[in-house]
Amino acid sequence: MNFSPVNIMGTMPEIYLTVLGSILLLMEPFVPKEKRSWLGLFAIASLIFAMIATFGLNGKGLPLYQGLYIVDPFSNFFKMVIYTGTIITILFSLPYLEKEDIHVGEYYGFLIFAAVGMMIMVSAGDLITLFLGIELMSLCLYVLVGLKRSIHRSVEASFKYFLLGAFAAAIFLYGISLLYGASGTESISGLAAFVQNPGALKPMIIAGMILTMVGFAFKVSAAPFHMWTPDVYEGAPTVVTGFMASVGKVAAFGVFLRVFWVAFSANKDHWTWLIIMIAILSMLIGNIVALVQKNIKRMLAYSSIGHAGFAVIGLLNPSRESLFALMFYLFVYLFMTLGAFGIVLILRRKGVEGEEIQDFVGLNKKNPMAAFLMLIFMFSLAGIPPFGGFLAKFYIFMAAVHAGFTWLAVVGVLLSAVGAYYYIQIVMTMYMKEPEEVVEFMPNRMEKFALFLTAAMTVVMGIFPLPFVHYIETSLAILVP
């Protein structure tokens, strides 16, 4: 291992965040209970600090630590998304944790470490590094999901997530070991070189490839590895759900993309149909089961399964267009999902979180602002112009059409029409019914800011996307060390 200055500099954002996260944990006992929000602000400051560091690395393509770790525009883009998502999550967290009485200092530490795990994932140049990143993220998330220790549902969710996550990790690790056994290397570029050889496609490589795919599919909650999602999303504290559903998924997609496009692009034909299978199943299950949900968190969980299905379509064809489409999709998805969960967690009925769809009845009469913001997020998730979700779906389906999978795009469009039903149902509930119960919607300044930011981004990405399009286009280069 070579700890030369270049390597250290390249991983500076991760190092900063790890050190600052540790300081956060150490500081926690010394901060009085009513000053806990300072820890949150400290966490935001750390993230901004790391963001600046990452910004300094922009445009550089560096394989670090003999290729174990990669810093390239692609990973920097995902890191920026991770920072942004985490910051928004913290903005939502501060008042939420207070109200739910789970304001513990470790929360921010775990959130930061989870972010570090995701950063390691998207920068991994080696399957072992990748596995470490995934596990770091997952372990933090297991804890965060079970944060409401006194609530049965939360603990159950945490435990389920942990066991199934361990199961998936085992499958993933088994896949890695098969790949290593067949090729003698666990670096992504080494695998790519090995797979290119004719005759390299032994059953062992294929089996390893499929098992790693299962691991990723579990992390992005694509069907049929989605079973944990509704229970965990429902049980977890809503901020954590938002964090997992948005930032966690984005990171998982980043690494999914890197492994399959770099390591296995030579045998694309062998996994195309598996991806199609996963995409169709996810779109079907996500959109159809969401129709009958009564709990909005569960509904959003199924919606996120459906969205995973749409996004997976972007993986089909390793081309610049698909890459752009997928990155754009994830970028928009982050904001609209976080925003939707944000509304859910601010809404309270008699002091309890308003997470039943019933709680949204007639919201427009009482809180026109909340209803309007929710309308933006729902329309965007459904893919209705002029919101970002529309362009995101448009780019994904265009990429599919250009890759020769017009029929898949048609299936996708049809299923997103099915999906539009339950999103618009929420809007209808809010606008066209008379309110029954008193629902409170009192965001404080931070929540207002976060809601405004997510809503504004959702709208801007739909009507004036060009600055972001340019930014994503400059981040398209995947480094192949």
Partner: protein
């Protein structure tokens, strides 16, 4: 950053500020909207005078869509055509803003009204500045929307919203054609930007398109003709040409400033502007150009005959607008785009003047619109009388008023375009007689003769109604517009408006075989017919006379044809509305309830049931979840193996 961007930006700010914060203004919306509009006018005017020396320029604002080869941006194309249009549009818009302060005073929707006319001004300015078809279409729709919103300003009145719906629906037909035209343009040229379409036209001259291919037939027509016709369909709707015209007279249900601004001076001229803008296309599509010319000619005369007998002061002016629009469309179809735009500009001035004057008349009589219940108003509202007289003289084409120069130019241009042009010229001359007649019929009935409003009003319990002159905010625009109606035509000819516009609009060459009358003879003739029309109007209505009554009896067929507007409304009601209801009822009862509802409900039920079914797998049991995952893994492997065997 050029100052041009502020021309649309200022009204937009006005709309946003007044529109968003309207509850706080409480009848003071004009403090924001009017100064901003005046600012926009000042910039437009100074830029117009600079445009004589400055080269045309395009200001890029932002890229809206970029996908593959499709690149749609919002840009401001400022050339001579746009400059002179903007000058007229902002002038009229500014004066109408001013006029509105007085006319709408005390209206419950005062601030809303200001926000909408600001939005309209912004949209119209952007339409004029468009540099591609999609941008033009967006603002084309936006002005249509504003028109709808403003017609329905008094939304609690049934005729208002009926008229608004009529305008909206009829325009839908035209806009659908416009949209198809844009699609066909894009598929033919691969671009929607004017700068890229025009140079490419010559390479598509002989390209044809089979419009019967969907029916396995073969009916090839030149693609340029088809594009031009489809785009023209949009213009037919927007500029109220036959057969999509009945919405325009009904749109007079809206407040009078709207009639002046939108339904006389600016929005309805968008169709003519579009044809002028697309002139390279129409020059290359002779068949389409003929259709354009004939549509315009027929509209001009039909509308003029309807205007002869209408009792409602605003409807008379509305049909006159339609007829004048017909003139412009006709001459554009004959290649005289410059003449069309020239008439558009002068018409904008004197028709806005007539409408605002009519508004002043209506205002002075507290809402009376029937010309037969007016009369003798000259001594009460003298200023309005003088200004409207100027407007009517301009409309009748009497020198030296503006209409003389531009209408004469249209007739001369038409006459010089060979046999077709001469037929249309005859229609034009006939229309000119009728125009002078109905204009002065209105003048004599409203301002001359006995005072007929007393007796009628007394019946309604309104004893001793005293017509009063309007406040200065209303009369100042009248005076300014009447100055414009006097000088605009002379200035246009003196400073060479055709040569100025020749930058974008080529001057048509004279048909060599079209001999016959000389220029001065033509001019004399058109003045002569104007005077003739006025004289006949005086003979009928300027003195005690039984001619109108006996004529109406003697020629009752023609009288009724005119009074009932050639039965267009009845025809449409029969053909479209009733049959739509009939078909609708049929579909609703048989197809909709039977087939579609069953299918839709069936699909919905299917998905819902599958959702309910699938949900059952979500047992909450950990071991089941793990089981599904394991099945998933084996399933994927099995799928791979099976798939690779194939």
């Amino acid at each position: 950053m050029t100052p041009i961007i502020f021309i649309p930006l200022l009204p937009l700010i006005g709309f946003l500020v007044v529109g968003i914060f309207w509850p706080f203004f409480k009848g003071k919306g004009h403090f924001i909207a009017v100064p901003l509009m005046i600012g926009s006018w000042v910039i437009a005017t100074s830029e117009f005078f600079k445009s004589f020396t400055n080269p045309p320029n395009v200001t890029f604002v932002y890229d809206w869509i970029r996908s593959g080869h499709l690149d749609i941006g919002i840009s401001l194309q400022y050339d001579h055509l746009a400059a002179i249009m903007l000058f007229m549009v902002t002038t009229v818009a500014m004066l109408v803003h001013l006029y509105t302060i007085g006319y709408m005073h005390g209206d419950s929707g005062y601030d809303r009204f200001f926000s909408y006319i600001s939005l309209f001004s912004f949209s119209m300015i952007m339409l004029v500045l468009s540099n591609n078809l999609v941008e033009m279409f967006i603002f084309w729709e936006a002005v249509g929307l504003c028109s709808y919103l403003l017609i329905v300003h008094w939304y609690e009145r049934r005729p208002s919203w009926l008229a608004a719906n009529k305008a909206f629906i009829m325009n839908r037909v035209g806009d659908f054609g416009f949209l198809l035209g844009i699609f066909l343009t894009y598929s033919t040229f691969g671009s929607v930007s004017f700068a890229e379409i025009f140079p490419a036209i010559s390479s598509h001259l002989h390209q044809t398109v089979n419009i019967a291919s969907a029916f396995h037939g073969s009916m090839n027509i030149p693609v340029l003709d088809l594009i031009a016709l489809l785009l023209f369909l949009g213009a037919v709707g927007k500029s109220a040409q036959i057969p999509l015209h009945p919405w325009l007279p009904d749109a007079m249900e809206g407040p009078t400033p709207i009639s002046a601004l939108i339904h006389a001076a600016t929005m309805v001229t968008a169709g003519i502007f579009m044809i002028a803008r697309m002139n390279p296309l129409y020059n290359a599509a002779p068949f389409a150009a003929h259709v354009v010319a004939w549509t315009g000619g027929i509209t001009a005369i039909v509308a003029a005959t309807i205007a002869l007998t209408q009792p409602d002061i605003k409807k008379i002016i509305a049909y006159s607008t339609m007829s004048q629009l017909g003139y412009m469309v006709m001459v554009c179809g004959l290649g005289g785009y410059g003449a069309g735009i020239f008439h558009l500009l002068t018409h904008g001035a004197f028709k806005a003047l007539l409408f605002l004057g009519a508004g002043s008349v209506i205002h002075s009589l507290s809402g009376e619109q029937d010309v037969f219940r007016m009369g003798g108003l000259r001594k009460y509202i003298g200023l309005t009388f003088v200004t409207m007289l100027i407007g009517s003289l301009a409309l009748s084409g009497i020198p030296p008023f503006a209409g003389y120069y531009s209408k004469d130019l249209i007739l001369v241009t038409a006459y010089q375009q060979g046999p077709l042009g001469q037929i249309l010229w005859m229609i034009g001359v006939l229309t000119a007689v009728l125009t002078a007649f109905y204009s002065f019929r209105l003048m004599f009935l409203v301002f001359g003769g006995k005072e007929r409003f007393h007796s009628d009003q007394a019946g309604h319990g309104g004893h001793g109604i005293h017509p009063h002159e309007s406040p200065w905010t209303m009369t100042v625009p009248l005076v300014l517009l009447s100055i414009a109606a006097v000088v605009a035509g002379w200035a246009g000819e003196h400073y060479g408006v055709l040569e100025y516009l020749a930058q974008e609009l080529p001057i048509p060459h004279q048909d060599p075989v079209a001999g016959g009358m000389s220029d001065s003879a033509l001019k004399g003739l058109s003045v002569g017919v104007g005077v003739l029309g006025i004289f006949v109007a005086w003979a009928f209505y300027g003195r005690e006379s039984s001619i109108p009554g006996s004529l109406a009896k003697g020629l009752s067929f023609f009288y009724k044809l005119s009074l009932y507007k050639w039965y267009f409304d009845e025809l449409y009601d029969l053909v479209f509305v009733r049959s739509s209801f009939l078909i609708g009822r049929l579909f609703w009862q048989e197809l909709d309830k039977g087939v579609i509802d069953e299918t839709v409900n069936g699909v919905a039920a299917f998905f819902r049931n599958s959702g309910l079914g699938l949900r059952r797998y979500q047992t909450g049991q950990l071991q089941n979840y793990a089981m599904v995952m394991a099945i998933g893994v084996f399933g994927l492997v099995a799928f791979y193996l099976v798939f690779n065997r194939m």
